[in-house]
Every structure is written in C-alpha cells, then in structure tokens.
C-alpha cells in the first residue's frame, strides 16, 4: 500500500513578470517504510515538495493523500493535527525553540500530544542518549554546537515515532562523522518502525543511504530510480 500519493502537483510563484515553477505536474507514489532521497539543484522544487506533502504550503493544483487522507483538502487545525501525530520534520536550519532546553525541545511535541510527563522523560532520555547528547539534556540551544542542535532537532522529529519523516537538507551543517551517525539513526528507525523517510539533499554521501532516488529540476521529476542502498 502506498503511504503517500501525489497526483499532478503544481505550485507556481510570481517573481516580477516571470513565473517560477515550484512544482510542475509532479506525480509520485511513496510506499510505506520507504527511504527516499530527493536530489536536484537549488530551486529544483525539493523543499516545495516536502512542504506541500507536510501541509506547510498550499498547492495551486493537484492532490496529495497520506494513508488515504487528502492533505490538500484539510483545514488549518486538521493539518496541524496531522503534522503533530503523523509527520516529523527536520529542517536545514535546526529550528529549535531557544527558550527551551534540549530535553524540553525534544519533549515539546509529546507535551502537545498529551503524553504523560513520566513517559516523556523516559522517551526523551532514551532518544537523546541515542543521538549522543547524554548529559546535555538541560542545555539551551545557544549552549550547543551546530551538530548538537541538529541532533536535538532529529531527536524531536523521531521521538514520537511518526509515520513519515520529512527532512530538508538535514546534514547540510554537519561534519562527516555526524552525518554518518545521523543517517544511521534514520536508517535504524526506518528498519525498526517502518517509518517512511523523504530526505531532500545535495549530498552524494546521503544519497547512498537511500533505496530510491528521485531527481528534480525546474519543479519536475526528471528521474525516479530504485537503487541498492550501499549502507
């Protein structure tokens, strides 16, 4: 069964007299438990596609279904609920809440979900240990390095075990070692919990981890290939 079905997605931006094609008749089917990399140059539509699937941005036309539910037809509150319970986001800029500690950032989504304090603490401790931030739980984002902040953001995205993780250039600010560690965690979660990953990246090393590679250019899918993950 397909987890995500995108049909004829179109998104255009007006820039002066020119029309920029963010998404130009993009159609995709993504199976549950896939580990997919979206590649392509800047402006090719990778981020626009992730934002559209996550309900962060609206479409000019087309349909998106996640587990049979039409995302493009949902209202603001229903979209918020979908993101809260089913989708984890990892952004290129870590996007942590600066007034919350690493643990509080990780627990934030669970707190909004209404998970008990004891369970939140148990889950956040486990995930922070897994991402190598044990002992740094009480540090605020400003007290963490870029790599550490990105790991907190990843921990936040996967701690509540969403069905789908949308990651936009998650390794852009990481060194090789941190990148390897992060991708290994993504892969482990993908294998153990059948979490679907859709990762937009420029990084060839990241692409090697994927089972499927979708290339985009000028808002269009120019290639969609299954590949043998080398890691």
């Amino acid at each position: 069964m397909s987890a995500i079905i995108c049909t004829d997605l179109c998104k255009y931006y007006q820039q002066g007299d020119a029309v920029i094609k963010g998404l130009d008749h993009v159609s995709l089917e993504i199976e549950e438990g896939s580990f997919i990399c979206l590649s392509g140059p800047s402006g090719s539509g990778k981020t626009t596609l992730l934002n559209a699937i996550g309900g962060l941005d609206s479409l000019d036309s087309g349909e998106i279904s996640i587990d049979g539910e039409r995302v493009d037809l949902l209202g603001k509150a229903a979209l918020a609920d979908l993101r809260l319970h089913s989708i984890g986001f990892v952004f290129q800029a870590y996007n942590l809440i600066p007034v919350l500690s690493a643990r509080e950032n990780v627990e934030f989504v669970m707190q909004v979900q209404g998970i008990s304090a004891a369970e939140r603490k148990q889950r956040s401790s486990k995930i922070l240990k897994e991402v190598g931030l044990e002992g740094m739980e009480d540090r605020r984002p400003a007290q963490l390095s870029g790599g550490q902040q990105q790991r907190v953001a990843v921990a936040r995205a996967i701690v509540s075990q969403p069905k789908l993780v949308l990651a936009d250039e998650p390794t852009a600010n990481l060194d090789s070692k941190s990148m390897e560690s992060l991708m290994a965690q993504f892969r482990a979660l993908n294998h153990s919990h059948k979490v679907t990953f859709l990762i937009a990246t420029h990084d060839q090393r990241v692409m090697e981890w994927a089972d499927r590679r979708i290339s985009m250019e000028d808002g269009r899918v120019i290639s969609d290939e299954l590949q043998q993950a080398v890691r």
Binding site: L56, A77, D81, R83, I97, P98, F108, Q111
Partner: protein, 410 residues
C-alpha cells in the same frame, strides 16, 4: 484536541523574559497606570465622600422630616408637633443611630458693629452631638448645655464679621407665627469652627426651648433629623419613616434634600469608569507595541510551532497568556503600590494652598484617599478584560502566519 496549556504557559513565561528590559519597562508602565487608576480614584472618592459628609453634617442627618410646606417657606409658620409615639418607637429602633428635633428658621443676628442674616437652629445639644456635631469644633467657650441653655454658639467667621467675641451679647431677630418680630438677646458662650467657612458664617446654635419660647410655638419644631447606618443607602430608612408620619409631613433623604451632592455621587461612579478606561487606553498602546514586537521577533519560532503541529488557536492562546502574565504582574505591583500609598496617606493630604477652590465645591482642605473595594475590582477588571481584548490583535496576527513563510523569515 485539548489545548497544551502547560506547554504554552511555560513558553509564554520564558518568552516574557527573553527581552527582560522591554518587559520591565512595560511592567513599570502597567504598575504606574494601575497605581494611578486606584490611587487617583481613591483620592476622588475621598474628596466626594468628604463633600457628602460635610454636606450631610451641614444638614445634618441622612433623613429629615418637615411639614410639607417647610422647604418652600422655611419659616416658623410651617412647624410641626414633636414626634408621635409610633414615630418615637421607630426612631429608637436599631436602624436609627441617632435623631434630634430642632427649630430651624431664618433670622438676623446683630452685634454692636454689624448685622448678618443667619439660619437659627434651636437644638437639643445632646442630639446634635449624637448626630455628628463634634464638640472639638468648639474653639472658644463651650457648646450648649441643654435645651434651656440661654447662651448662643456662633461660628468663627461670624465672630469676625460681627466684630464680636466670646462673652459679648448679640441680638437675634426672627418672625413668630403671627409674622411679628420676635427677638431676644443672647450671650455668646461658644465659638465653633467648621470645615466650610460658609457654615461658620451662616449657622448659629441656641437652646431649643429658648427659641420655641422666643418664637411662641410651644413644643413645635421645624424638622427632625435622623442618622442611619449608611449614608449611601438612606432610602430604605426614609421609606420606613414615611409609613408612619402624617400626610402633612414629608420625609426626604439627603439624596433629595441635596441633589447637587447626590448627583455628584452618581456622576462620580461614571467618571471613575471613564478615568480607568482612559488610563488603560494610554497603557494599551504600550501593551500592543510590546506584544507586536514580541511576535515579530518570533515569526520563525511561530512558524516552527505551527510546523510541529500547534494549531492556530494554541498560538493565540500562547500570546494571550503572555499578555495575561504581564498584566497580572503589573496589577500585582500596581495594587500593592496603590494600597501602600493609600495607607501611607491615611491621615490625609493637606491641600490648603487650594482650599478656597475646594471649598467652593464643598470639600475641605484635607483630602483623604478612600479605597472602595468595588473600585479596586473595577480597576483590576478593566486592566484584565481590556488588556486581553487589546492583545487579541497581536495574537491573531501571530496565528495567521503561514508556516512555510514564517519558517523562511530571518
């Protein structure tokens, strides 16, 4: 889904102190505003309270009984008999604190040097003291001993006008029921001081029986003055008395006897509300500006929270809670400061430099702040309710950000 109250409240509290300097300035503004609302209202209340009390003590009493025609023509011809047995029973009831019957007629008082028109009060001194005459106001000599005291007590200002003094004789002239001149010589046995100079100049006290005898009215009196428990609620007492007195007598509360004062009291209630709203409007610009700045500075975070699954209503809630926290802190400090100031100034503020102006309004030269709990409640309610309403604009703006645009903002 239930509102994540705790998460939002924690965020709101921490966000409040991100720019602590701005928060402290806004807190200071709210504190001063609330202080001004409460303290200035207490001063105004105190001034009106003083004017009313002074006005009532000039009447005095909360309720009065007269012959029906007396108020149109306050002469001795419109006298009435002393209280009947049923009325006496009521006057000695618990709802009455004190009462007295008096003769009250226009008269002319003359010394060797000058003459003045005055209101002659034939009184029972014990009744007057019970009603509110303060014997400490006697600055020279003594107050009257009884209803048959043959002396006269006049005000300090009248002493100056008549160029007389304690122990000297004065002549008082009025009309008897046959409209013939009735006069009598009195020795000045006491000089009183009053909050209002006009009272010192226009009222003279003599023994009731002496005046009744001078005017030839037997035991008749001009009015009965009654003191209840609360000057703000005199109508219930007036109604009870009205049920007992005969038809040729009228019973009026001070609210009717002195419409200037009663209107002032009513106007004051409206004025207090307007005053508070005006102060808050000045405050609200600062509040909206502070919250707007706080929202603009956090556009990216708001986008992030939306992306993580916060509903727009939760964003509104967070901004409103932040505003509420600011308001509550400001209210707390403002209330403490205002109540502290009022307690500190409980002995009054001497405004004698402008006392003549105040006297024209019937107020004394010492202003006492009077804190009324309904005013305190009103000030706090105005700040909270209008504060939340004012905060809706920045909160709504915050909730309208599209996640994708907010996340890409710098």
């Amino acid at each position: 889904m239930a509102m994540p109250v705790r998460a939002m409240s924690t965020l709101a509290w921490r966000n409040l102190w991100r720019n602590y300097r701005r928060t402290l300035i806004m807190l200071l503004a709210i504190t001063v505003g609330v202080w001004a609302m409460i303290f200035m209202t207490a001063l105004l209340r105190g001034m009106v309270d003083n004017m009313v009390r002074t006005g009532i003590s000039a009447l005095p009493g909360h309720v009065q009984i007269h012959a029906t025609a007396y108020r149109d023509d306050p002469s001795v011809t419109h006298s009435m008999p002393p209280p009947s047995k049923p009325l006496l029973d009521l006057l000695n009831d618990r709802q009455v604190l004190a009462w007295t019957g008096r003769i009250k007629v226009p008269a002319m008082i003359s010394s060797e040097q000058d003459s003045r028109g005055v209101t002659l009060l034939g009184i029972d001194p014990r009744g007057e003291v019970a009603l509110g005459f303060d014997s400490a106001d006697i600055i020279e000599g003594r107050f009257l001993d009884g209803v048959d005291d043959r002396g006269i007590v006049i005000g300090k200002k009248l002493v100056q006008r008549l160029e007389t003094r304690l122990g000297k004789r004065v002549v008082v002239m009025s009309q008897d029921p046959d409209n013939t001149i009735a006069d009598r010589g009195f020795r000045v046995v006491g000089v009183f001081e009053a909050d209002l100079e006009s009272r010192e100049e226009s009222i003279v006290y003599a023994g009731r029986e002496v005046i009744q005898s001078m005017l030839g009215v037997g035991t008749d009196i001009s009015e009965i003055a009654i003191l209840g428990h609360d000057y703000r609620e005199p109508e219930a007492l007036a109604a009870s008395v009205r049920n007992i007195v005969p038809a040729d007598q009228e019973v009026l509360s001070w609210l009717k006897l002195d419409p200037y004062l009663s209107t002032m009291m009513q106007v004051m209630d409206g004025f207090v509300l307007v005053w508070m709203v005006v102060i808050f409007l000045a405050l609200s610009f600062g509040l909206v500006n502070t919250l707007m700045m706080a929202v603009f500075e956090r556009v990216r975070e708001i986008g992030l929270m939306r992306a993580l699954g916060m509903r727009p209503s939760a964003i509104i809630y967070q901004v409103l809670v932040e505003s509420l926290m600011l308001l509550v802190l400001g209210l707390l400090a403002g209330n403490i400061l205002a109540i502290g100031t009022i307690v500190w100034l409980k002995d009054g503020i001497d405004v004698s430099a402008v006392s003549e102006g105040l006297e024209m309004m019937g107020a004394s030269s010492i202003m006492y702040p009077v804190l009324q709990y309904p005013d305190l409640l009103l000030a706090n309610s105005v700040v909270i309710v209008l504060g939340i309403i004012t905060s809706l604009l920045p909160a709504w703006r915050a909730a309208q950000y599209r996640p994708v645009e907010a996340l890409s903002s710098t």
